[in-house]
């Protein structure tokens, strides 16, 4: 890969990671808090209790702050597609364009219309219409996320498309296959529920602060009950969708699974590492023990990945060297090719594309058909043709491994946390347990860490691919000056940091002020 400017690739990746991670600071709270507010307002409309209205309006203000600061931060990612990732943008073409266009229309019409009713409509529209608007804002925000995540799911598992060698674009032949790809569905459900859990923890944390200060007691107590019930239900669903996502990873991205578990040597009845530390500097072809230590559950990785405790789970070394049997997407048992063989097939595909283009220019129809057939036969390995070393298919194992284990550990911690909160609330112990109130506040940053590490697993774990097996990151970047990317990296860093500081300052100030009128 020496002909690629690695500095350009790395800076482009760093910039995209920076903007995506900052964007994701704002999004999950919007997704989850919208539903929590909708539930609170439903209680207000059902009971007619003005305190519920006050509670709803308070959380709506915090929702509004987060929404306002975060809105449009995702557009920068689209700027980057056009400038830094122009090859990729062209190559994915319609597949990415259609979901993003639907997202834009939905976000604009649903969120911007009903959010105005939600904020300005108190006492101006009927209670029921206001409530419907609040629910539609929640549904609209989550539907916006659907289209983005469908596009991301397609990059992890390209389905419902074919490659058009005349335009160098992937074209959608089956919209429903793209939309209902099992990877996309699991990704969507897992991602939005992570936002619900984060929002529930946020509400509990802020409410706990009020209880510690002895202020807004009724607001805090009621908010905690709604958020804890919402959080417990969604955190269990989060674990289930996490299992679904990991199952899809095992089927479609085995290298990512191997990296998530630090599994170098494949085995039947593979254990799941619960806690562990990796040996620094471990390579796939050395004899070092991959783990300094580990606590594991026997056969669990095989069971979770393949629904059989005795199933073979390929490790990093197996995937690089090939030779193991697996079942492909059509249910056919096959012997895995080595990375070297895939690289050869990829180079054949790329050469076939070049020859196809030359034959088309020369109006040689026989040659056009011939090269097109070669391209089609080898297209599933197209991206491997850009790699010169089999080791290039290995992602950053330590980063993926630790991010995955932090995410999972925190996910289970949150389930326990919600159970504990509900237990204490039920036995009326919550308010007098100061340590649990402090713990609740501490949970807020942990929820953000879990959320970010989830994306690190998803995106770092799939390297070197920007589209699984078809386009590696190195071939997706625009050939621009890397210094330009460096400048905009620091520019974004400054802008986003300023936005984050603004968010935190306004949010803290508003929390300190508390709800406007009355209250107990």
């Amino acid at each position: 890969m020496e002909h690629f400017d690695l500095s350009l690739v790395n800076w482009s990746r760093a910039q995209f990671a920076l903007t995506a991670m900052y964007h994701w600071v704002f999004v999950p709270l919007t997704l989850g808090l919208a539903f929590i507010i909708a539930f609170m307002e439903t209680l207000y409309v059902k009971t007619g209790d003005e305190e519920w209205k006050r509670i709803t309006k308070f959380w709506m203000t915090l929702f509004g702050i987060n929404f306002a600061i975060g809105v449009a931060t995702g557009i920068i990612l689209e700027f980057e597609f056009g400038t830094n990732w122009s090859n990729y943008s062209w190559f994915v073409g319609d597949i990415f364009g259609a979901p993003l266009a639907i997202e834009g229309i939905m976000a604009f019409f649903m969120e911007s219309t009903f959010i105005a009713v939600m904020f300005f409509g108190w006492n101006k529209v009927s209670k029921k219409f206001h409530l419907v608007s609040t629910w539609l804002v929640a549904v609209g925000a989550n539907l916006s996320a659907l289209w983005i995540l469908v596009a991301n799911g397609w990059m992890q598992y390209p389905a419902g498309m074919y490659f058009n060698p005349d335009t160098a674009r992937n074209e959608m032949h089956n919209f429903w296959e793209v939309l209902f790809s099992p990877v996309a569905i699991n990704k969507f459900l897992h991602t939005i529920t992570s936002g619900y859990v984060l929002a529930a923890i946020f509400v509990i944390g802020v409410s706990a602060w009020y209880l510690l200060k002895g202020r807004n007691i009724l607001l805090a107590k009621r908010s905690i009950i709604v958020a804890a019930v919402f959080g417990l239900v969604t955190s269990i669903f989060l674990a289930l969708t996490g299992d679904g996502s990991a199952y899809q990873v095992a089927q479609k991205q085995p290298m990512k699974l191997a990296a998530m578990e630090g599994l170098y040597e494949g085995q039947e009845g593979a254990p799941l590492v619960v806690v562990g530390a990796l040996t620094p500097g471990k390579q796939h072809d050395d004899d070092k023990d991959p783990y300094i230590f580990r606590i594991q559950i026997p056969k669990m990785l095989s069971f979770l990945g393949y629904r059989s405790g005795d199933a073979f789970v390929p490790g990093v070394k197996d995937i690089v060297e090939g030779g193991y049997t697996y079942v492909d997407k059509n249910g056919v048992e096959k012997v895995a090719l080595s990375a070297e063989q895939k690289i050869e097939r990829g180079k054949i595909a790329i050469k076939a594309l070049a020859d196809y283009t030359a034959a088309k220019d020369a109006n040689d129809t026989a040659a056009v058909a011939y090269y097109r057939a070669i391209l089609n036969d080898n297209f599933e390995y197209f991206g491997y043709g850009y790699l010169n070393n089999p080791k290039s298919i290995i992602p950053n194992v330590p980063l993926t491994f630790y991010s995955f284990h932090i995410m999972v550990a925190l996910g289970f911690l949150f389930i326990g946390f919600f159970m504990l909160i509900l237990y204490l609330v039920y036995f009326r112990q919550f308010k007098i347990n100061k340590w649990i109130l402090r713990l609740s506040i501490l949970m807020i940053p942990l929820a953000y860490i879990a959320s970010q590490t989830g994306w690190i697993v998803a995106e770092v774990g799939r390297q070197p691919w920007v589209i699984q097996d078809i386009l590696p990151t190195v071939a997706a970047v625009s050939r621009i000056d890397s210094s330009a990317v460096q400048i905009t990296f620091f520019l974004f860093f400054t802008i986003f940091t300023a936005l984050l500081i603004a968010e935190l300052r306004i949010m803290f100030k508003q929390i300190k002020i508390g709800p406007k009128e009355g209250g107990k």
């Binding site: 002909h3 690629f4 203000t61 509004g64 702050i65 306002a68 600061i69 809105v71 449009a72 557009i75 920068i76 700027f79 980057e80 056009g82 400038t83 122009s86 090859n87 943008s89 062209w90 190559f91 105005a116 904020f119 300005f120 409509g121 101006k124 060698p165 005349d166 335009t167 160098a168 674009r169 180079k347 790329i350 050469k351 594309l353 070049a354 283009t357 043709g385 850009y386 071939a475 625009s478 050939r479 621009i480 330009a484 400048i487 905009t488 520019l491 802008i495 936005l499 603004a502 306004i506 508003q510």
Partner: protein, 72 residues
């Protein structure tokens, strides 16, 4: 016409009665200005749209990019 007036008044009164919202709108407007009037125009051109006039030219360029790389 009456409907349009009512919608206008709805938004007008809504914006007028905002407290924290005014600060947020200032942030939103500054942010959008920086994003679209500065970043998009000066730092983030769409390379393929800027450099080529037709989709055919863009396709040819990307094919060249994709097929030349492994040969170098």
């Amino acid at each position: 016409m009456d409907m349009i007036k009512r919608i206008f008044r709805f938004y007008y009164e809504g914006f007028k009665s905002m407290t924290i919202g005014k600060t947020l709108w200032i942030i939103i407007l500054i942010k959008l200005f920086v994003m679209f009037a500065v970043l998009k125009i000066f730092f983030f051109p769409n390379i393929l749209k800027r450099n080529f006039k037709t989709d055919e030219e863009r396709s040819n360029y990307v094919i060249e990019q994709l097929t030349n790389n492994p040969k170098k």
